[in-house]
Amino acid sequence: MESLLKDTVKNSRIPARLDFLQSGTGLILGLFMWVHMFLICSVIFGKEMFNLVAGMMEAKFLSSSGHGWPILVVFAVAGVSAVFVVHAALAIRKFPHNWKQYKILRQHVKMMNHKDTNMWFIQFITGFAMFFLGSMHLIIIMTNPEINSIASAGRVNGNVMWPFYALLLICVELHGTIGLYRLCVKWGWFIGKDAKKSRKRLQLLKQALSVFFIVVGFWALTAFYMIGRQI
């Protein structure tokens, strides 16, 4: 009966938890992508380097056979996928709910041309794209847990997958760096004394990171591509 008396029903604590979870998953994914990028980039230094790194990930150095356990990759992918799914599910709540809201958003973004709003719009578009691209990539890796330069290069080069990776790369790097920047302003991290100045600095840092990762990413993609051409 109590619930009929509106005032006695307290606001649920769930929205707070969900918001926190969204940021948490975003943070994990964002930082994971840094690591992921550094690992992938080993290909720039040659096939051997990449294989070595990939081997380390499969804990080849532990197995006597020297084959390692690709199953480890499957676990990792499963873990990341779970985070990915949770993050995406939470993020969808922030999307425009219907066509009308989307139209308003478009018109607003166009009229204001405001930096942080534009950035969110990019996050929204790239997030939406990754919904497909990211899932596909994860499924591919999950189903082909064998990671070495040949396999990877084959994936990148074969089936005209190159544009797919290029697109995913741009999406994830823009989305991730903007996301990390947003985390800072959202929770007030690294604000210091002068919030306005710090925000300017964070924006610059965000810009630098986006460029850095995209450049390095394309470099790696090119490397895969070259390797792919050789086989």
């Binding site: 606001n11 707070a16 926190f20 709910h97 607003h108 709003t117 302003v185």
Partner: protein, 244 residues
């Protein structure tokens, strides 16, 4: 800086919902710029010399009362303190603030909105003992720094720029909006307000409240009073998260 007697083209969104059959349209007016001319002066000239039906709201014409916010070349600002010389090409496009009920042309009903907002957040000091205070006696003391901090947040003029600048608010009608967060942060800071964090949670602890804010910071960037939205919303978010 100011070119003597240059021509200004001022485009105004004209629409009077009171008139049956009227439709929104952009109308251009040409006027001659005068030194020190503000949009306030320009609009009055248009009303007096060109078209006496143009609607807009100015009250203090000094950037104090917050009644003249409108979209000036794409972004919300106080028209009365915007000098026309700011626009190098002499083109000025004026739209009413979106997100509010349109009264006519550039005039919107921000008052009703703000009253509802204040009712929603219960924007007043909550203290059940307030009515027993004896005003003949010394007032309750307050730390001078705290008083200053509160004033910083009190400087809001309820102009509505932060509402119009927020894509979240534009998309989601029930969203409280930055001005509400600002006010709430102000009361949360005030030792005279005896509400606890969980009381505040009841007001903003959901997706129409602080957890719906996507940190777009249009509010911060277009607040004509330069209120610290980013810091305060982040503060509220942390505070609300910590409520058990």
């Amino acid at each position: 800086m100011e070119q003597e007697g240059r021509k200004l083209t001022i485009q105004i969104l004209r629409f009077n919902p009171q008139l049956e059959g009227d439709t929104p349209r952009m109308v251009s007016y040409e006027i001659t710029e005068a030194p020190g001319m503000t949009i306030f002066i320009a609009l009055n000239e248009i009303r007096e010399k060109h078209d006496s039906s143009v609607q807009f709201d100015f009250i203090c014409r000094a950037g104090i009362c917050g009644s003249c916010a409108m979209i000036i070349n794409g972004t919300p600002d106080l028209a009365c303190r915007t000098l026309t010389s700011k626009f190098k090409d002499g083109q000025i496009k004026l739209l009413p603030l979106p997100g509010f009920k349109l009264i006519g042309d550039l005039s919107v009903d921000s008052g009703t909105f703000m009253r509802h907002m204040n009712e929603r957040i219960e924007g007043w000091i909550h203290d059940i003992k307030a009515d027993e205070v004896d005003f003949n006696k010394l007032e309750e003391r307050m730390d001078p720094d705290v008083a200053e901090e509160i004033y910083e947040l009190e400087r809001c003029v309820e102009c509505g720029c932060c509402i119009s600048a927020c894509a979240t608010k534009r998309m989601k009608d029930g969203f409280l909006g930055a001005v509400g967060f600002m006010k709430l942060a102000r009361y949360a800071l005030d030792p005279r307000d005896k509400r606890s964090d969980s009381d505040f949670y009841e007001i903003v602890g959901d997706d129409n409240g602080v957890f719906g804010c996507m940190s777009l910071l249009g509010c911060e960037d277009y607040c004509p009073k330069d209120l610290p939205h980013q810091t305060q919303i982040a503060y509220l978010r942390r505070k609300m998260l910590s409520v058990k």
